[in-house]
């Protein structure tokens, strides 16, 4: 096999422009350092146990070397019992400390891993709502599943094993130097080959393994999609295409497997050559030294056996160094979340009153492209405002600004005279809540699903909130009541029930202003109608900004704002707008024609 170029298609390349940041090398280094500092003691313990085990394991070769020396010198009184006793003692020590070392290594790895994943989730739940809205949760999701998984291997095995391997090699070389200093030179002979080979390999390996892993994940992803889209695949007769797609992914993945196999086909002979060179050099140089009288036979035997022992730690280091490099990438992705500016909110800023105002607001997602142009709006407490307009006109964006999720580029959005963007997310949500199509039911008990809105609520309050949204009927009928496990893989709730849970949370959280973004638009029209009754009870007495798809929502509102091309083009009550005979009136007539 002559050289093999890496495959052209890289499954690990990013495909989406809106992703969260990846940690810089400095952030990663700082993080690793703090992680190690936090676990200083267990780390020292691991190294200590490791050193004892290695030193005990060197006893065998030493004793055998001494014996060989004595035997070849024809010594008759060998003290075999004493030798055996020392050997046995060393063996017991080695056994005990090997166990300790393995166990300590695992405990250390697990603790670091637990720290890491808990840290990550703590950071994730502290992300500003605006960042989440924009980047979505997909990227975060892949970090907490795939990247944590990859790190698990590294933390569990690579870090402890590498530590063990390095100490091990160091002690063996040290022992060799102490027993027979000239033999340590023999080890150096093998070093250049190893260094050149490893440099070549480790320059290519990490990214290749990343692509290989991504390629393999893509194979599974295609299958998962085919399963998920079973109905669509069947009705559009896409079966053959899905199979072809799977085969293509298999080809892309195996191309990377072939490349990494090539990389290892270079690395393996290098390692083997190193190993044999060390052994051969020790024996031949050593043999020559003995013949010249610079070394004893016993020293040579010990040296040769020590050299032979080196294969284990060298293999260990090479085996796990790889993994550590791959893990570094995952770590950078996890730590990257720390680089996002946390909420810039000021704890002292709070609203005085309930009036929501937008004053000459401009906003855009990308520099230079504004989605909203000088929008001004005044929502008096208790008013129901409906935003209508075509898709992409900026209704949802305006809604998010009014809910304090995004900060305007210029102008200001205020609640009770205080700027929303200067308040903390925790403060904002005490007053304003955004209700959207996303009615996520968390895996867990029904109680947990409600408690999140008000953690100190008692059962009576929880039941009351369910009753307030017409959900007590089915929820009372559940076998375990509030303890019923719901969410994916548990009892699955219908979309309408999930929406009711979302509404019950609002009852508990009790914000005085609500921004509704198509809250019921993904539901079956029939279920939606039922829900609207639940919703109506929740809305009672609150300020409501509703982004309306359906005109009857608009009809019931106190004020209707027609949003077109990032501007409010019509504003007034239903009757006023119908009389004005503009866009709204035309639409209304065709809807009710």
């Amino acid at each position: 096999m002559i050289g093999l170029a890496p495959p052209e298609y890289d499954p690990a390349a990013p495909t989406s422009a809106t992703t969260l940041p990846v940690g810089t090398p400095t952030t990663v280094r700082t993080y690793v350092r703090s992680l190690l500092r936090r676990h200083r003691r267990p780390f020292a313990l691991l190294i200590g146990a490791n050193a004892v085990a290695v030193i005990a394991s060197i006893t065998g070769p030493y004793l055998l070397g001494g014996l060989v020396e004595d035997l070849s010198n024809g010594v008759t009184d060998l003290h075999l019992e004493r030798t055996a006793a020392v050997f046995a003692l060393a063996l017991v020590v080695q056994t005990v400390f090997t166990r300790t070392m393995r166990l300590r290594g695992a405990m250390l790895g697990e603790e670091m891993l637990a720290d890491l994943r808990e840290d990550f989730l703590v950071r994730s739940v502290g992300l500003p709502p605006g960042v989440l809205e924009r980047a979505g949760t997909g990227d975060l999701l892949s970090r907490i599943t795939t990247d944590i998984d990859r790190l698990a291997n590294a933390m569990r095995e690579a870090v402890p094993q590498l530590a063990i391997g390095v100490v091990w090699v160091g002690l063996l070389v040290g022992a060799l130097t102490v027993t027979a200093p000239p033999l340590a030179l023999a080890v150096l002979v093998a070093l250049p080959v190893l260094l050149v080979g490893c440099r070549w390999y480790f320059r290519r390996a990490p990214s290749a393994y990343r692509s290989e892993a991504a390629g393999y994940a893509a194979v599974a992803a295609v299958l998962a999609e085919t399963v998920d889209a079973g109905r669509t695949v069947e009705s559009h007769r896409l079966g053959a295409r899905r199979v072809a797609q799977s085969d293509r992914r298999v080809r892309e993945w195996t191309a990377w497997e072939r490349y990494t196999l090539f990389l290892r086909s270079v690395l393996f002979p290098v390692i083997n050559a190193t190993y044999v060179t060390i052994l051969g050099a020790v024996l031949l140089l050593g043999g020559w030294f003995v013949i010249e009288g610079w070394l004893t036979v016993g020293q040579l035997t010990t040296g040769a056996l020590l050299a032979q022992m080196m294969v284990d730690p060298i293999g260990l280091i090479l085996r796990w160094y790889d993994e550590l490099q791959v893990a570094q990438v995952s770590l950078a992705r996890l730590v990257g979340v720390r680089e996002i500016e946390p909420d810039a909110g000021d704890d002292r800023v709070g609203p005085d009153g309930r009036e929501v105002r937008a004053d000459e607001v401009r906003f855009g997602y990308r520099a230079g492209v504004d989605v909203l142009h000088e929008v001004s709006l005044d929502v008096a407490p208790g008013t129901r405002l409906a935003l209508v307009g075509p898709s992409g006109a900026g209704k949802s964006t305006l809604g998010r600004l009014l809910a304090g999720i995004y900060a305007p580029r210029s102008g200001e959005v205020t609640l009770g005279g205080a700027e929303l963007s200067r308040m903390t997310a925790e403060r904002v949500r005490g007053h304003v809540a955004l209700v959207n199509q996303e009615h996520h039911v968390f895996v867990g008990s029904l109680r947990d699903n409600l408690l999140l809105a008000r953690t100190d609520a008692d059962d009576a309050q929880l039941w009351a909130s369910l009753a307030a949204v017409d959900a007590d009927g089915w929820s009372r009928a559940l076998d375990d009541g509030l303890d019923t496990e719901v969410g994916s893989g548990r009892l699955s709730l219908t979309p309408a029930q999930a929406q009711q849970i979302a509404l019950a949370r609002l009852v508990l959280a009790d914000p005085h202003t609500l921004v509704l973004d198509e809250a019921t638009s993904l539901l079956d029209p029939r279920a939606a109608r039922h829900l609207e009754r639940s919703l109506a009870r929740v809305l009672d007495g609150r300020t409501v900004v509703a982004i309306a798809h359906r005109l009857h929502t608009a009809h019931d509102a106190d004020v209707i704002a027609v949003v077109e091309n990032g501007r409010i083009t019509e504003l007034g009550s239903h009757d006023e707008l119908v009389t004005a005979d503009g866009a709204y009136a035309a639409l209304w007539r065709s809807w009710h024609g």
Binding site: P14, T15, S16, L71, S72, L78, L80, L91, V92, T98, R102, G105, E110, A114, V122, S124, I144, T145, L223, A224, V227, D228, A229, S235, H236, L238, D247, V250, T254, E257, L261, S265, F268, Y275, V276, L279, L283, I291, Q308, P390, S391, G392, R429, L434, Q437, F442, V443, L452, T455, L522, R529, H549, R550, H555, E564, A583, L587, R589, S590, G593
Partner: protein, 610 residues
């Protein structure tokens, strides 16, 4: 089979009688690969086993101060080194090839099975189960299949080494030969418990990952309403449980590695003691003692394979069982009695009495979503029979031909049912719209009819390398980066491209805003001119454009006519369409009576303003 030849053109017909049968089938399918791996493995192990000979010879040569013998030992070591390097590399290459080909084959089998089962799959097994086979089980199956030949090579090498030692130095060789089986088998009794603990650990880790990803998936809800601490606390507990389970599992593995140090150590002590006496008595040479000692330490390598194969089997057997469960599924459709053909004519459902005349746009209004769903399913033909249906349900007819009796492919070609929740498959927009079709409708026309302009903008903004062509933009899994309304319009465009004889749309615009909905409805009507189209909807904007509207009460057609006729004459229709409930019907009567512009004019007006 080489890796570069993958994927298989035909992964074959697996033996799905049981897990072990399946493993055997996979192994036999790559017999050449297994034999290659076995041969290289044997060479590798034997070359390693030869090293002590070189070490012993060298020591002995030094003891006898013989430079010639020392040089010979050196040559032997170099020769063995070459053999080891070649053997190790080739063993790795062949073993990995076996692994990859086995894994690829199972993945391909799964892909074919899921594509064949289509909508029938998830009714039989949970979707997660199938995906779990692909993400987790395939690896374990491949591991065992691959480890098999490595194990065989190691076992064979051990026997050879023992025989060699006994011949080389009977006195010490016998001691080693007797001890080896004990060493090989000593840890096996501990393995079941260790793997059980590993399973518990994996299960807990899976639970923690589930909690974490669930929390992240609902993060916007948490950030919007609160409860972060509640969920963090929950995750911390799960995470700490994983840690405890992992440490518990590690205890077992630490014990196993301790035993793997202790037992060979005892053998080595015995060797040194006994060997030294033998040397003293002059029955063996010093070099021979070093050789046997060194050989005994090197034997630990092949010995590890016993442990590995036991673990590989205990992990892969349940995995193979799960794979077999999926691969043995079959469709339970009625067998086709008619030849493949695409009939033309009116679409008619004898059960409800629904008639969609050929070439017209028929809208169906149905107060009961379940009944609507059942009808939509049936209209495509080959719907799975209801569990509580009293008797066989008569098939839907297209041009008088029973769809259920057509081959599945023909039925799907003739009638396309776009269900309520159509899935957008990830890939570029071009790939999304590249579906089997009549070829009569261009993608651009379909996109325009479904009012997808803003969707294309959104896609272009979010993509890295689209080079300005929206057809090259990427759609993420399930179109998650798009809003519900945008997804719906893309799915509609895809159905329009297909251009089937009869197109059935179930609530195609339920998530689209009223402004856009009116334009979508007009676009669809224009594009499907002269083709049979059925739409389930309750939106007046759409109903008003239909040639014919049918009202369904439960499973029966109760009225038919135009939107206006039904609005005027049919109170039940009014109740469903104008969203009046019984209690507010009276109060809003005035609104219902509002009769305005022709809808076509209204649409034009909106378009002018946009």
């Amino acid at each position: 089979m080489q890796i570069r030849d993958l994927p298989y053109t035909d992964p074959g017909d697996p033996d799905v009688r049981s897990g072990p049968h399946f493993l055997l089938w996979l192994g036999l399918g790559q017999l050449t690969g297994q034999l290659k791996s076995l041969s290289w493995g044997l060479m590798h192990q034997c070359a390693i086993a030869g090293l002590p000979l070189g070490v012993g010879l060298a020591v002995q040569a030094v003891v006898e101060r013989s430079g010639g013998d020392l040089a010979f030992a050196g040559v032997l070591i170099v020769a063995l080194g070459v053999l080891i390097a070649v053997g190790d590399t080739m063993l790795h290459r062949t073993a990995v090839t076996n692994w990859i080909t086995a894994a690829a084959r199972v993945q391909q089998l799964l892909a074919r099975k899921t594509a064949e089962l289509g909508s029938a799959l998830t009714r039989r097994v949970a979707a997660g189960e199938v995906v779990a086979v692909s993400t987790g089980d395939v690896e374990k199956i491949g591991w065992f299949v691959e480890a098999l030949s490595r194990f065989a090579a190691a076992a064979l090498a051990l026997v050879l080494i023992c025989v060699g030692l006994v011949l080389y130095l009977p006195s010490l060789g016998v001691l080693v030969a007797v001890a080896v089986p004990a060493l090989a088998l000593a840890v096996l009794p501990l393995l079941p418990r260790a793997t059980r603990r590993a399973d518990i650990q994996r299960e807990k880790a899976g639970h923690a990952t589930e909690l974490a990803s669930d929390t992240v998936a609902g993060l916007r809800v948490l950030r919007g309403i609160g409860g972060e601490e509640l969920f963090l606390g929950r995750y911390r507990r799960a995470s700490q449980e994983v840690r405890k389970a992992a440490v518990r599992s590690a205890r077992m593995w630490a014990l196993i590695s301790a035993i793997q140090v202790l037992l060979p150590g005892v053998l080595l002590i015995a060797l040194v003691w006994y060997g030294a006496t033998l040397v003293q008595d002059g029955r063996i040479e010093v070099g021979q003692l070093v050789t046997v000692y060194s050989a005994a330490t090197l034997m630990l390598f092949p010995l590890r394979h016993f442990e590995e194969i036991a673990m590989a089997y205990s992990f892969s057997r349940p995995s193979a069982q799960r794979a077999v469960r999926v691969l043995s599924l079959k469709r339970s459709d009625q067998a086709s009695t008619l030849e493949a053909q695409v009939p033309e004519g009116d679409l008619y459902d004898p059960m409800t009495g629904l008639l969609a005349p050929r070439g017209l746009f028929t809208a169906v209004v149905c107060g009961d979503p379940d009944a609507a769903g059942r009808l939509a399913d049936r209209l495509g033909g080959h719907a799975e029979p209801d569990e509580d249906a009293s008797g066989p349900v008569p098939s839907v007819l297209l041009g008088g031909v029973a769809l259920d009796e057509l081959p599945l492919g023909s039925a799907r070609t003739a009638v396309l049912v776009q269900d309520k929740d159509p899935v957008l498959l990830s890939g570029t927009l071009r790939e999304l719209l590249d579906v089997p079709s009549s070829g009569a409708v261009a993608a651009d026309d379909a996109l325009a009819a479904a009012q997808c302009a803003d969707v294309l903008d959104a896609l272009t903004q979010a993509s890295v390398d689209a080079d300005g062509d929206p057809m090259n933009t990427r759609i993420t899994e399930r179109g998650r980066s798009l809003s519900g309304g945008q997804r719906q319009r893309l799915a509609l465009a895809r159905s329009l491209v297909t251009d089937p004889e009869a197109l059935v749309l179930d609530e195609p615009t339920s998530a689209v805003d009223s402004h856009t909905e009116a334009r979508v409805a007009a676009g669809v009507k224009r594009l499907r001119e002269g083709r049979t189209t059925v739409a389930f909807s309750s939106s007046p904007l759409l109903l008003d454009l239909a040639d014919r509207v049918v009202l369904l009460d439960g499973d029966t057609v109760v009225a038919a006519g135009t939107h206006r006729e039904l609005l005027r004459d049919e109170p039940r229709y009014r109740a469903v369409v104008t969203r009046e409930t019984e209690d507010e019907g009276g109060a809003k009567d005035g609104i219902t009576a509002i009769d305005g512009l022709l809808p076509a004019r209204a649409v034009e007006e909106i378009e002018e303003r946009a």
